[in-house]
Each structure stands twice: as C-alpha cells, then as structure tokens.
Symmetry: C2
Amino acid sequence: MNLIFHRLLVVVVIVFISTASLLRAEQPNILVILADDMGYGDLNCLGSEHLKTPHCDALRESGVLCTQAYVASPVCSPSRAGLMTGRDPRRFGYEGNLNQSAEKYATRPELLGLPSGEWTLGDHLKASGYSTSLIGKWHLGTQDRFHPNQRGFDYFCGMLVGSHGYFPDRNSNRLERNGRPLRDFSSSYLTDFFTDEAIKWIDGTTSRDQEKPWFLFLSYNAPHGPLQAKQEDLERFQHIQDPKRQKYAAMMYALDRGVGRIVNKLQAQGAGKNTLICFFSDNGGATNNGSWNGPLSGVKGCLKEGGIRVPMIWSWPGSLPPKSTFSGVVSSLDLLPTLLTAAGSQPLPLAAARSHEDGRNRKRIVAKYGAYDGIDLLPLLTGKTSPAARRLFWRLQGQTAVLDFSGNQNDKLIVLSHRPAQLFRPQADPGEREDLAHQSESRTGELFTMIGEWEAMLPTVPLWGSSPFWAGQSSKNYDTWPVRSEPH
Amino acid sequence: MNLIFHRLLVVVVIVFISTASLLRAEQPNILVILADDMGYGDLNCLGSEHLKTPHCDALRESGVLCTQAYVASPVCSPSRAGLMTGRDPRRFGYEGNLNQSAEKYATRPELLGLPSGEWTLGDHLKASGYSTSLIGKWHLGTQDRFHPNQRGFDYFCGMLVGSHGYFPDRNSNRLERNGRPLRDFSSSYLTDFFTDEAIKWIDGTTSRDQEKPWFLFLSYNAPHGPLQAKQEDLERFQHIQDPKRQKYAAMMYALDRGVGRIVNKLQAQGAGKNTLICFFSDNGGATNNGSWNGPLSGVKGCLKEGGIRVPMIWSWPGSLPPKSTFSGVVSSLDLLPTLLTAAGSQPLPLAAARSHEDGRNRKRIVAKYGAYDGIDLLPLLTGKTSPAARRLFWRLQGQTAVLDFSGNQNDKLIVLSHRPAQLFRPQADPGEREDLAHQSESRTGELFTMIGEWEAMLPTVPLWGSSPFWAGQSSKNYDTWPVRSEPH
C-alpha cells in the first residue's frame, strides 16, 4: 500500500510539475557535454600549449569557467552516478567502478547498476516537460532494468559499457540505438559519430518531440582509452614527440571539433541564447591515456586533486556572464538543482529505496541531511550571491576524503587505509605538496569527525566490492604525480 | 570435476589421518572452556579482589597463564569464527557481529553464518579420530546449513544465537539438543545446566563413542548479559555495592563453580593427566555487564587492548608446566594447530570456497600466506623455543589494527575511520595511554604498509555489513576506559 501511495504521489507531482511548466516562460534547452578521463590542464585555456582546443576555448569565453569544480568520484561509473542523480553516490552504495572485476566478483550481480530507487537528470527533466536524450557512454549498468530508456531518457544512442573502440569493428562493437544493436557506426570515427548523432537529434531528424524543450546529455567517451585517433587528426600533432600525448592530442582535437560543430549548429538555429551548456570531465586525467592534470597532484582513481577536480564550463549567453571565472567550490552534484532551476522546476521527491539496504535508514537520513547534495549554482555564477560554506566527501577503495570550505578555510583531509592521513589546502596548494596534518592537529581532528559522521549515514556495504586502491598499479602514481610540465 | 577431485582428496586425507592416528600413542582428551565478555581482570589470579574464582585460579595454578593472548575480534561472533577455524575471519568476510542488525539489513541473508568452505575445530578433530561435542553458545549462524551438527560436532546442546536468559522461560527459550528443541532446561540456572550437560557427555551418559578420545567445546554464555544470577550466588557478594558488579560476580561464581565441577570430575576419573584444557574469553569485558578489564584500555567492540586481549589458561598436567606464565604474544587462532599437534594430527587441507568472493583469490592467497593463521603453542608454553616474530590483524566497523611483535618491538597501530591513527606499545603500556604515532613516524608508516598488504588479500565486501563503530554507543568508552580500580 505504501508503495502504491508513493507512486501515486509521484504521478501527481509529475503532473503538477508538468502542468506548471507549461504555464511558465520559455524553458531553455540544456546540453551537458561530458569528456572522459580528460586532464585538468588539457584545454588551451587551461594551460595546454600543445593541444588544439579552439572550440572548447570559445565555449569558455562565452561563459564561466569554474576553477575548483569537483566530481563525485575519481573513477567513471560512480562519478556518473553522482552527476546523474545529484546525490552523493555512496549514499546508495554506488562506490566502486563498474568494471570487469566488479562484474566478476559481485556477490549480487543484479545490483550492478544505478539502483531503481534513484532518479536521473533524465527523469527529473522529463518530468519538467523536456524531451530527453543520452548520446554516448552510459556506464550505469548493462542489464535491462538499468537501460537509459528505462531511466528517464526518451532517446539513447551509444554504449552501455565504460569504454569502446573509436573505429568501426564488428567484433567488438557494443553500440545501440534505443535498445537495438547498431551493426556499425555511420561515421568513420566514434567521436564524430556521437557528434553527428547529437546534431541530428537537436535538429529533430531523429525522433524528438519538437513541442518540448530538450535536454541532451552528450557523453563522449573521448579521450578515454583505447588511444585511437584519425590519421588526419594525428598529422596535426607531428610536433608532439610523446606518442601517447600525440594520440591524446588528436583525440581531444576530435572532441573539440564536435563541441564546435554543435555550438555552431545551435547558433545557426538561433538557439544559442536559449541553450544552457555545461562542459566538464567525469574525472581527472588517467596515466594510461596521455592526459595532463596541469598543476594538480594525483591521477584518476585517487582522491588527490588530480583525481577529482576537473575544469567545468557553464555557458548560457544572456543569462550567465561571458569571459568569467568562478573560483569557489562547485560540484557535479550541483547539476541537478542548477539545471532544474534553469528549467523553472523542482527535483522529484526521492523514490523509496527498493534494491539495497540504503532503504533501512533512508527516511531518517533524508530528514536529517536532505535528499539531494548539490546547490543551485546560478546565483553564484551570476555573482548574485557569494560562495557559502561547502562540504564534499569521497570514498573509493580504502581512501576517504572530505573537503571543507568555510570562510577562509579550504581544507581537505585524505584518510588512507595504509598510510597516515594527509591534510592539504588545495586552493593555495593545488599540487598538494604540503601535508599539514601534523601542524594542524585540531583541524585534522575536526575533519576526521566530519568523515565519521558522513560514514555513519552510508549503507554498511557497497553495491559491489572493489580491491583497495593500494593493491592496484595506479597507486604508484599517488606520490610521483603531478607531472609539472605538459608532456610533448 | 575439480570439486569432485577436491572432495575425493579430502576423503583420502581424512582416511589417512584417521588411520595414522589409530597407530599413534594415546591421544589426549581436549576441553576448551570459553567465557563470554569476561574482562581481563576478572579472576582472582588476574587481579580481582571482589570476585570469587577459586576453581579458575586452581586451573591457572595447574598450567600456563598467557598474559598477552588475543582473540580474533572484539565481538563474539567473528571471534568464534576465528578460534573455530584457525583462520583470520576477515579472510572469509566474517567481519561484523552476527546480531539483529546484521539479520535485518543483510543483503544476502543466506550468508549469515560460517561459510561452508571453512572447517571447524570439530571437523579437524573429528577427522583426527575424536568424538566431538559443543555445549553452550554457537553464534555462527542459525540456518540449518550452519548447524553445529553439520559443522563437525557429533553432539550439540545449547543455543545457536548469541545470548540467552539464565532462568527457564518458555517464551524466550532457544535451547536445543542436536536440532531438537529443549522445552526447558533441567537445572535451575543456565550456567549450571551447561555444566551438567558437559559432565554427562564426558561421563558418556549422553551419546558419545567411548572408543574415541573426546573434544568438548564448553561454550558458556556467562558472564554475557542479561545480568541474571541465582539468589544464593548473589548472597555471597553482599559486600559489592555496585549492582551490576554484584550480579556479574555471582554469574562468574557460577561459571567458576562449573569449571571446578568439571575438573574434579576429570580428576575423579583419573583423566586429569590426559586432558588438555584451554580456558579463555571470546573478547574483552563489555560495558553493559559489570566486567572489569584490569589494567587494559578499551572495551568489547574496540581494538584497544580491552577489546581483544584476554586471559588464556592452558592446563595439561604432565605435559605443560604448572604455575607458569607466558608473556609472549599468542592468539585464539593458535588453538587449531596447538590442539591438532596435541592430537598428533594435522589440519585438514582448506576446502574450496563455495559461498563468497573469497574464492576469487583463495588459491593465490593460500599459496602466498598459507591456509591457517595460527602457530603451535606447545613448544612455546613448554619453554622449548622462544617466541618468534608475530603479526596479528583486526578489522571491525571502521577500525583496523595490526600488532607487530618482533625482537624488542611490540607495536600496535590502530587506524580509525574518523580519528587520526594511534600507535601504542601494549606490552609496556597496556593501558594504551601514550600514543606514539607522531614520535615514531617511520615505524607508523611500516605498520600502515602491513595493514595495506593485509587488506589487499581480503574479500572486497564482508559477508554482511555493520555500521561504523563510531556511530554506536560504545565508542564513547574508547577514551574513558580503563576503569583503573575494580568496581565494587
């Protein structure tokens, strides 16, 4: 009875929100462009001297660059679970990456995806009157129950898994459109194909309800491995000697070309002013793809800045200031409230947890901490309000961290399973060179307490397990990064 | 095929061991007596001035007291999983206590017990030619597949759950004999009933193969709560004002009476010399039962000494020296090799893991670390060899610890989820008053690395989850204990 009542309530709310949105002023189109494993320094506007990213740079010129933006996790899948739900993914047990090891050793394979009790950006915006589309990488579960078409996206073209080759190959092809396998992709290169698909969907040449505003999540897998680039793109980077970096540069060039083609399309349609664009990377640069994290320490997979801090660009001509920089703490968890505010709407009430022990305390925890973890960024990005105190948490594979930003303090404690905890001040020391844990014992103690309180609200086991970070190869980069100068 | 071959191999080994044992000299009877939540100071011979424990003291006089003995966990169920298997219970995911919270929130209820891939002391000793019996508390799973009669014990009389009232009460009675419910217990008090049952089984008045040597695990639930004592026992402790301590004293008195009755029985049978007795507690004293941890810091549930260090007495007249003290590090994990050596036997080869992801690495890990974690104590307790280096690990509810004993070093690092890690030297500082983590950074780093390596070999998720220690009530005693003087 409770469940039926709950569903009825959700329907009522959806109808109410949908009706309300029809009565409101024009809703903007919303375009989220996600790069994959891109480093913090990997746009010309972020410091790279060897890549060529004119279109991303132009996007940055048209809006606001957030210099201290964080994602929910230093690895792909839980990072996407966070940005997609607007909730700290650990709150629903979504902690480890969804990879072969998770699939092989899961004690409950049916849990290997975004739990059905969570709403996605697609759900929220669909309920707000939007036509919704996901093009590219999903990486939130491959089983039917997790399919994007079941999770708020009217249209899906891409792959459910976490990585994919860039050239057509029938043997390893995992692409599909709305559940139907695509034998081949029609362009010669996957990044271009996703761009083509995005333009077609925006254009309305593939099915889209043209009466509605649209939300497109363009989820490129570039520049995630495998390192595969078009010959003509590679030839533009003969000046780069490092073979990995050269391929990376060519892959980024194709991604940047896609961004340019889409922005040009919107401007040609006259839709530029009415489209809110957010561009960022799902996590920091990886060691295996030739990326460069600029001044940051650490790498994909670890909780140093290089794993979790990404460039984030917001562009909405006429509504957000151009050529701006915002240096306060923001998070990918903020997409949900920000996009919904832009859409003149509200988040859906949190669904009942149905698939995991998260349900045990959900009511109590939501009452205490709220359902969603992000904040509406529009007042900050437009300069209407000043940054308020902010606290963000992470946990992955035996590493736990809290960032506590309040007043003049911008402190981050990383608690490690097999090394002493470290205290950094990432705003002043983005390279995390100075561990202040011993000098600031009382502050260290405060941050430890925050972590303890946070952990007490999480499910006691994650949806699936993952080996300690320290047992893997990438941990060896924990101390040796950052690579201070751009590889070339 | 592999499984069949493995089972065949096990049968062959069992037959071989059994036959070999028949050819050997007389095997001793083995009696393990376990107290439950008894404090480190709670025998007269351990410092208590207000309790009366003449029979335990006599047992101590007859053999060796180990002053630095550890159990596998500071809570009942995983501690028993460790002593019963001779394996660090975290290696097979047996990490949290098996209580109502575990039962309520388990994601896989079928895993709530000792995994079927583990052998018990009963299995090993039965294969070595013993008649085996468990009387008292099991606490390793209530489902049929976990039943003691399925897990190496020919005879079982007691309760499967972790606690039980001491007076007959039909409504809350959970007692059984070999799977058949016991409507009532025939004695007026549960501790006396278990003693009666033990004497009957030793006597052979309940079914026991009298041709074989016997192994009895007498697993008293005393002095675990609820605090219920016989009036006549209470009257002996009118001098104790503290009401909890008074009841505790009376409960300990009944336990001590049981120990005395059994030892007297053995002596009357002339079996004293041929019976190896080991007495200890499953974990340190709890705050809720009036126990006292003597000089130790901390309490049941935490990884300070008061949670995991227990008095342990070994008595085997003629084979072990009387009135002796052994101050080296020993562990409840040592029971398995010690008892099997006494029985002139060998541990069974480890079974294939069948129920949990432990299986993923079991072969590799066993090849690297061995199957079992204990050592044969007989050469140490008889003084034939000197204590070798020893390393023990613990993990429970967000606390992890390693004790590394080597040469002159006797260091223990406690890594806490929400406080800075602490380094103690428990031999010199049993009260863990001096945290040396900052003074000994390089040693701290070494111990952290040991923990990291250990964690990397564990399953990535436990069999069931448990909330962080810090979220619970007992954490508040972490700093306030020890209670230096005995309550009275």
